[in-house]
Symmetry: C2
Subunit: 255 residues, 2 copies
């Protein structure tokens, strides 16, 4: 793996590729600012002396990279976007899924990340954020105890808690990782939240964790987190041995 020209060994399929790269370069170099509009497909078609299909293919690629947003109608067209972290996370999540990553590896990794974030979040998170975290944990608990909220809603709240937590570290890379892991393994989270025992336990643990973060006590926070992952490992083991099914088999990145 010498990687001479470095980077993505994407087979250059010619024109569309070139155009996509040119536009991408223009965006990354700031020659086109977020919010600005690219020329219309037809204009670019004549500009590049090519077919409209080529331009469209290039646009689709850029759209999926999260670099542009395409609007229909008059005043429509391709608008340069601010790249959001989810887009960066999505491809990593894809990678994790396709490689059938062992849940235990993932748990180990996630636990490490959580521990790292803990220190940073306590040190750098604003008190408002810490209160928010605590409130959201209470919301989750309420939602679970009500029994009215659907599974999706619960998992969503759990996800938001994690994102909030990772944001407090004030380092976008941790956000990236956290989101990638969550996207890639939402099916696992779903499976776990189906278990009433886990559900009850998880929300309680979230509340306690949030409390210790609010109290700026990293040791106790980590203790909570560590306990959480012990339970999690156990549950995953149960699920796996019970069903024998691959919990990563159901769709999640495909809806």
């Amino acid at each position: 793996m010498t990687q001479d020209s470095l980077f993505v060994p994407v087979q250059t399929g010619r024109a569309g590729e070139d155009i996509a790269l040119q536009i991408q370069a223009a965006i990354l170099e700031g020659r086109i600012e977020p919010g600005e509009k690219l020329p219309s497909e037809r204009d670019l078609q004549t500009f590049y002396k090519t077919g409209r299909g080529v331009i469209r293919e290039a646009f689709q690629v850029l759209k999926h990279k999260g670099l542009i947003e395409i609007r229909k109608g008059a005043k429509g067209g391709a608008y340069v976007k601010h790249l959001e972290v989810v887009f960066a996370s999505e491809s990593f999540a894809l990678f994790l899924r396709q490689n059938r990553t062992d849940p235990m590896h993932l748990i180990e990794f996630r636990e490490s990340i959580d521990h790292m974030i803990t220190d940073l979040a306590i040190a750098r998170g604003s008190s408002e954020e810490k209160r928010n975290l605590s409130e959201k944990a209470d919301q989750l608990a309420a939602a679970v105890n009500d029994g009215t909220a659907g599974l999706k809603k619960l998992v969503e709240l759990d996800r938001e808690l994690n994102i909030l937590f990772s944001k407090m570290a004030r380092n976008p890379i941790f956000e990236w990782i956290m989101q990638a892991v969550q996207i890639g393994f939402s099916s696992m989270d779903n499976a776990l939240y189906e278990d009433a025992e886990y559900r009850a336990y998880a929300v309680e643990n979230w509340q306690e964790t949030a409390m210790w973060i609010l109290a700026a006590d990293p040791v106790r926070t980590k203790s909570c987190i560590g306990y959480h992952y012990r339970i999690l490992r156990q549950k995953v083991k149960e699920i796996r041995s019970a069903s024998g099914t691959n919990i990563f088999a159901d769709g999640s990145a495909d809806g």
Copy 2:
């Protein structure tokens, strides 16, 4: 951020989107194995009762996600690929660039990862791997002292050391993360290795680190690593204030 239908807020531009997602789902769920060939564009066109352009747009997106490879000619078509980590890294690097991510964030993240890996590597790495690591560190030192090896070669050796190190953790996620971060980092690594002082220091530190790993002493290993990152931060600060240029500005994701 409610996101009911969950995930990547990609504006669903209709047909092409759907088809791309369907195929992606099929790939991720293993209904189509890597190496297998998708139907030809024309076949899919009739199957989905759609235009060929739609199929092509879907294919282009999948190609850029690294999920398929497209070959021309007879026996050509879309072949399912094994997703490589570079693809995940690419969008990550894109994100880092467009958001002008502070190199200090990357350093912070990398240091955290290194510390986590240290414990795992010492606990799980075989003695052979530990010896290999030490030998490779010596090789790097020799290469630097000879002065014969080019910059590229040195960075490459450094990279290999990191990979070797991360492999010892026996958790592929750490490997992938390490690779992704290295790719995102490559321009910085290059810049740093241009500095003779840093170069000399870095290789010495690698040797020492490898030694403590071989001695199974996590505390001293982490001490080495911590010191390494202190130097690294300082150098980055120097480079940044001296040149004023953004070290992520030079081409790397765009060609």
